[in-house]
Structures are given as structure tokens and as C-alpha cells.
């Protein structure tokens, strides 16, 4: 819980402040003394990686906003001004663009970790749902951010996504006009997307705080899926163990990030976005950014406009129901051999849908996308509920300490840990 009563500052000034605003105790109980399962692997560093990327995007974004002009006539030129005139503008722009891709890479690994190890199961359902909300906010933020440079692909993407609302019967077109501030994507749309793109990350920060709070109530899940029973035997203190591990994970991640920013900064950018937006011409080959491709593929695979939009929304919203879709009592995929097979098939579906989303529409690609979409929804709606009822699981360890010590040599496994 927040504000551990055992934390007492050493100095009189510290005690005076702490009795009025116990923030030092809160930080201490949350990030210094907080008990962390001792069997976590490096997949658990992605929370810290994501927090770092959120701060990085906010800092680089606020700086870009000092130089960017959100007007249809000046936006494209202002981005070129940032790239060419502003001191280190090219660096800050590439940090922000590639930072968004790295942010999504980290969030997908983070989510797949949650699915594999059953981190969404009780008592962490709300934690998971808060995560889905963060994911939705991230997608909205990224979509609006991509519109801001006002290139051809920015304009096309804005048009296609906002046109999704016209699929809604009766009110759809009115909603679309309301979003656009006109009869099509234009200057009013760009201005309001800039305002909302500045706002949404701070809403993400708020939901992230709730997410971390919910995490600290239940404690972390762990690769063995066995809850902490004995704090002394099963856990280590957050500082220095998780602190240093997170720092190391962030450093490796930053190497990958820096690789993109300094060697291949435009690898993930679409060449069509170097052409200014033209409402009268659509590029020959429209694609969203890579992190939205799987959902784009699902949308395109369905011939009916409204059903396609519903499928797109369902593909994301269904994730929130995972805690109840999965009926298995065993949390971790480590002890669920059948689940492991389906999990990796699910990953293949997601990556495959992503690839198909990037390709031009053809009979073959549409058929493949339909098969993979069936796989995607089948995993969530059929496999997960059924598997928990019929699967044969491996025996789970009695405790985290047992799981960890079983890997050590038998002699050491029998020896108690060093006493204080």
C-alpha cells in the first residue's frame, strides 16, 4: 500500500515534510522496499522501458511543438524547417518518429508477455483492462501524430480512419463532419488533431499511474504464475535488484532505438509522406504505420463496410475480456503445453496479418487475411475458453522459492539463504 508506516526520515526537516506530505515514504515503499518476485525474467523490464519511452515521447513532442505550425498551408514546411533550420531539429524529429515505433514494439512485447504468463488473471483483471485503455489511447495518439506532418499519407490515413465512422448507420456521416470540422479532412481537422495529440499523452500518463497503482496492489505476476506466499523467501527488494535490471533492459532497448535514429531513421517512414498533402489525389498504395497493420488487414479482409469496422473494433476491445475468456486456473504458459502451441500460432496470426496489411489487395492476400483473422478471433473466442476446460497442465511449483531453487544444484537447493 502507499505510505509505508515503517519509513522514517533521518533528518528533522525530512520528518517535518514527511508528516505533511508522505511522498518519500510512498516512493520508498513503491520503488525501494517493494517486494518483487525473485524469478522475474527480462520480459518484466518492459514496464520500465515503456515508462521511459512515454517520457521520451512527451519531451521530444513538447520540443517539436515549439517549432511546428498546425496549419494546412504551413505544416509541411514547418516540419522541413525543423529538419533543416532548428538546432538538432532533425535529431528531435527522428527521435519522436522512431520513438513512436519503439513505443509500440515495447507495448506489443509487454502485452504478449501478459498473455503468455496469464498476467491478466485474477487478481490483476483491472490492471490488464487499464493496459488495454492505455493501448487504445496510444493508438489514437499515434494516428493523430501521423497526420500532423501533412504529407500525402498523413492526409490519406486521416481520411480513411475518420471515414470509418461513416459506416455507422444514420448518424455516421454527421459524426464524420463533426470530427472533420467540414465536409472532408482539412485545416480544421489538422488543428484539432494537434490539440488532441498534445492532450492525449497526458491522459496516458494518468492511466499509467492507475496501472502502476493497480500493479502495486496485487504485486507482479511472475514466469511461474505462482503468487508470492512468503515475502522473505519468494521476493527481493525492488532497489537494487529490479532497479538495476530495469536499467539494463532500458539500455539494451536504447541501443536498438539509437540504431534506428542514427543509421536508418527513415526505414519505417513511407516515401509518400515526403509529398505534401493533396486532397484531390490519393497515393497508389495506402498503408498505416506498421503497428496498426494487423487491424488494417482485418478491416480489409471483410467485404461488408459496417462488419469490417465492427471487426476492427472487436479485435481490440476483445482483449479487455481476456481475464474471462481464458478459463484456465493455471496462470503461466510455462506449465500449459497445449496453450503454448496456440499462443505461438496466435503470434504468427498477428505478425502474418501485419504483413498482409502492408501488401496490395489481391485474391490471395484477401484469402490469407481471412484465414489469419479467423485464427486471431478463434484464439480469443474459442481456444482460450475451451482450453482451460480440457487441457492437461504440468504440475505447478509449490512456491516461487521452490521454482527458483529447483534449478540450482541439489546441495545448494537444500541450504537456506544467508541470514542477516
Amino acid at each position: 500500500m502507499s505510505g509505508s508506516p515503517t519509513y522514517v526520515p533521518k533528518s528533522a526537516l525530512g520528518r517535518w515534510f514527511e508528516s505533511r506530505l508522505p511522498i518519500m515514504g510512498l516512493v520508498h515503499s513503491s520503488f525501494v522496499a517493494f517486494p518483487v518476485p525473485r524469478n522475474l525474467n527480462y520480459l518484466w523490464t518492459f514496464g520500465a522501458i515503456l515508462a521511459f519511452m512515454l517520457v521520451a515521447q512527451i519531451v521530444t513532442g513538447i520540443i517539436l511543438a515549439m517549432h511546428y505550425v498546425p496549419s494546412a498551408t504551413a505544416a509541411f514546411a514547418s516540419v522541413e524547417h525543423i529538419m533543416r533550420d532548428v538546432n538538432y531539429g532533425w535529431l528531435i524529429r527522428y527521435l519522436h518518429t522512431n520513438g513512436a515505433s519503439m513505443f509500440f514494439l515495447a507495448v506489443y512485447i509487454h502485452m504478449f508477455r501478459g498473455i503468455y504468463y496469464g498476467s491478466y488473471k485474477a487478481p490483476r483483471e483491472v490492471l490488464w483492462i487499464l493496459g488495454v485503455i492505455i493501448y487504445l489511447l496510444m493508438m489514437a495518439t499515434a494516428f493523430m501524430g501521423y497526420v500532423l506532418p501533412w504529407g500525402s499519407m498523413s492526409f490519406a490515413g486521416a481520411t480513411v480512419i475518420t471515414n470509418l465512422f461513416t459506416a455507422v448507420p444514420a448518424v455516421g456521416t454527421g459524426v464524420a463532419h463533426w470530427l472533420w470540422g467540414g465536409y472532408a479532412v482539412g485545416d480544421p481537422t489538422l488543428n484539432r488533431f494537434f490539440s488532441l495529440h498534445y492532450l492525449l499523452p497526458f491522459m496516458i500518463v494518468g492511466v499509467v499511474l492507475l496501472h502502476v497503482w493497480a500493479l502495486h496492489v496485487a504485486g507482479q505476476n511472475n514466469p511461474d504464475g505462482v503468487e508470492v506466499q512468503n515475502v522473505e523467501r519468494d521476493t527481493v527488494a525492488f532497489t537494487p535488484y529490479a532497479t538495476i535490471k530495469d536499467l539494463f533492459g532500458v539500455s539494451i532497448f536504447l541501443i536498438l532505438y539509437a540504431w534506428f535514429v542514427f543509421y536508418i531513421p527513415t526505414y519505417l517512414l513511407d516515401a509518400d509522406n515526403s509529398v505534401p498533402a493533396n486532397p484531390l489525389v490519393t497515393p497508389a498504395h495506402i498503408v498505416p504505420e506498421w503497428y496498426l497493420l494487423p487491424f488494417y488487414a482485418i478491416l480489409r479482409a471483410i467485404p461488408n463496410k459496417l462488419v469490417g469496422v465492427v471487426a476492427l473494433a472487436a479485435a481490440i476491445i476483445l482483449l479487455a475480456f481476456l481475464p474471462w475468456l481464458d478459463t484456465s486456473k493455471v496462470k503461466s504458459g510455462k506449465y500449459r503445453p497445449a496453450f503454448r502451441v496456440f499462443f505461438w500460432l496466435f503470434v504468427v496470426c498477428c505478425v502474418g496479418l501485419g504483413y498482409l496489411g502492408s501488401q496490395e489487395v489481391s485474391d490471395a492476400s484477401t484469402l490469407a487475411a481471412r484465414i489469419l483473422a479467423v485464427g486471431y478471433f478463434g484464439f480469443l473466442l474459442v481456444v482460450l475458453p475451451a482450453l482451460g476446460l480440457v487441457e492437461k497442465t504440468k504440475p505447478i511449483p509449490a512456491s516461487i522459492a521452490d521454482a527458483v531453487l529447483a534449478k540450482a544444484k541439489p546441495a545448494e537447493a537444500a541450504a537456506p539463504p544467508a541470514s542477516r
Binding site: 533521518k10 525501494v32 533550420d85 527481493v236
Partner: protein, 227 residues
């Protein structure tokens, strides 16, 4: 304290103190030795510790171990890295290349008639380029310094006497004075009534200083570069 550990090294109090919430007592910890605590083997650290396993003694300061070296080296590299990251984020607010391109301007003097004042924009503000008549030059040169709030001779303020180039920003609170106004036929500021003469020197009113003379150079008889 029970959290002192098994490895000698000079970093103990800072790290152990920080890990245990005793930031203010980090300095107090200097010199703490407690042999009774060093009872676990160096190869099997106690997982429940939340210090970093370092400890200070007077012998330890002279014998830093590998861990201390690694910590200090990492912190040093981290500090350099932090500075390298911070600098672009700060420097981006400095004037950019397009602003610096306008840091100097060239003015063509040929079309400016005698007696005419031309206002040019330089670094975002007005600069007066005045082609002075003989009377205006003489009035400026023949002014006794005792009459001036900010004493300067005219010769100190011009390179060629017929060309007066001064900043058009009133030294009081920044308004732009009006030319050919005031009893000296120089400038008069409409905001609070400061009066300048034909050398741009303050004569009356609340302004404390003469109109500033920017850096300039004549590229030829008819072309001057300001800034």
C-alpha cells in the same frame, strides 16, 4: 545498522543509505564498521538486502574493490551520456539557422535622399538609417557634452558623418520613436515623451541612454552591412 555488508569499498554509506531511505545520514555513515555483520559469504549475498553490498571503512577507502570501480565508472559514463542527451534538447531553443541567416542585413544607401530617414528591420526590430543634412551634422557636432544625460560626441557614434545608423528602439521602455520630431529635429518617442537629437542622443524625457548604435560596416559608398 543491519544492512552493512560483506564487501569493503568506499561507496557504502551513500548507496546503502539511499537504498534504506537514509539520504541525510549518508554522510553520518562514513567510517561505520561492524565486523559482526560481515558474516555471509561474498559469493552468496542475502537476497533480502536492499543495499548494494558495499561498506565503508578507513581501510576500504584505500582499497576500493572491483564493484566500487564499476559503480563509479558507470556513473561517470552515465553523467556524460546525460549531458550529451540534454544538450540538443536545450540548444534547440537557441536561434535556428533561418533566424541566424537574418542576423546580418545589407542596406542599399543609393536611393536614400539627403534629409531622409529609412527604417529597416534587423534582428526583429527597427533600425534608423538617416542621410543627414549639413545642418543636422553641425547641430550634432556642436553640442556641448554638459547638456547630455548620456554624454557621447557625435564622432563617437558615426563612421561617416552623413550616415547616422542607430537602433530604433527607445531606451526607456522599447517603443519606436517618430522621426523629424522634437525640438532638435531628431526623434521623439510618443509613449512617454523622450526626445532625441540628430545624433540619436537622449535630450529630454525619461529615457536613460542614447539610441544604441549597432555593429555595422560600409561595403561601399552605397552599401552598408548591419550586424
Amino acid at each position: 545498522m543491519a544492512n552493512d555488508a560483506k564487501y569493503p569499498g568506499p561507496l557504502g554509506p551513500l548507496l546503502a543509505g539511499a537504498a534504506n531511505g537514509e539520504l541525510a545520514s549518508a554522510a553520518e555513515g562514513l567510517g561505520r564498521t561492524d565486523p559482526a555483520e560481515r558474516n555471509a559469504s561474498a559469493l552468496a549475498p542475502d537476497f533480502r538486502r536492499n543495499d548494494l553490498g558495499v561498506h565503508l571503512s578507513s581501510a576500504a577507502i584505500e582499497n576500493p574493490n572491483r564493484r566500487d570501480f564499476l559503480y563509479i565508472a558507470t556513473a561517470a559514463v552515465g553523467a556524460v551520456g546525460a549531458a550529451a542527451v540534454a544538450w540538443p534538447l536545450i540548444d534547440q531553443m537557441n536561434p535556428d539557422a533561418s533566424t541566424l541567416a537574418l542576423a546580418s542585413i545589407e542596406v542599399d544607401l543609393a536611393p536614400i535622399a539627403e534629409g531622409q530617414i529609412v527604417v529597416v528591420k534587423w534582428r526583429g526590430g527597427p533600425v534608423f538609417v538617416r542621410h543627414r543634412t549639413k545642418k543636422e551634422i553641425d547641430d550634432a557636432v556642436n553640442t556641448p557634452l554638459s547638456e547630455l544625460k548620456d554624454p557621447q560626441t557625435d564622432q563617437q557614434r558615426v563612421k561617416k558623418p552623413e550616415w547616422l545608423i542607430v537602433s530604433g528602439v527607445c531606451t526607456h521602455l522599447g517603443c519606436v520613436p517618430l522621426g523629424h520630431e522634437g525640438q532638435y529635429d531628431g526623434w521623439k518617442c510618443p509613449c512617454h515623451g523622450s526626445v532625441y537629437d540628430t545624433s540619436g542622443r537622449i535630450r529630454q524625457g525619461p529615457a536613460p541612454a542614447n539610441l544604441a548604435v549597432p555593429e555595422y560596416a560600409f561595403l561601399s559608398d552605397t552599401r552598408v552591412k548591419i550586424g
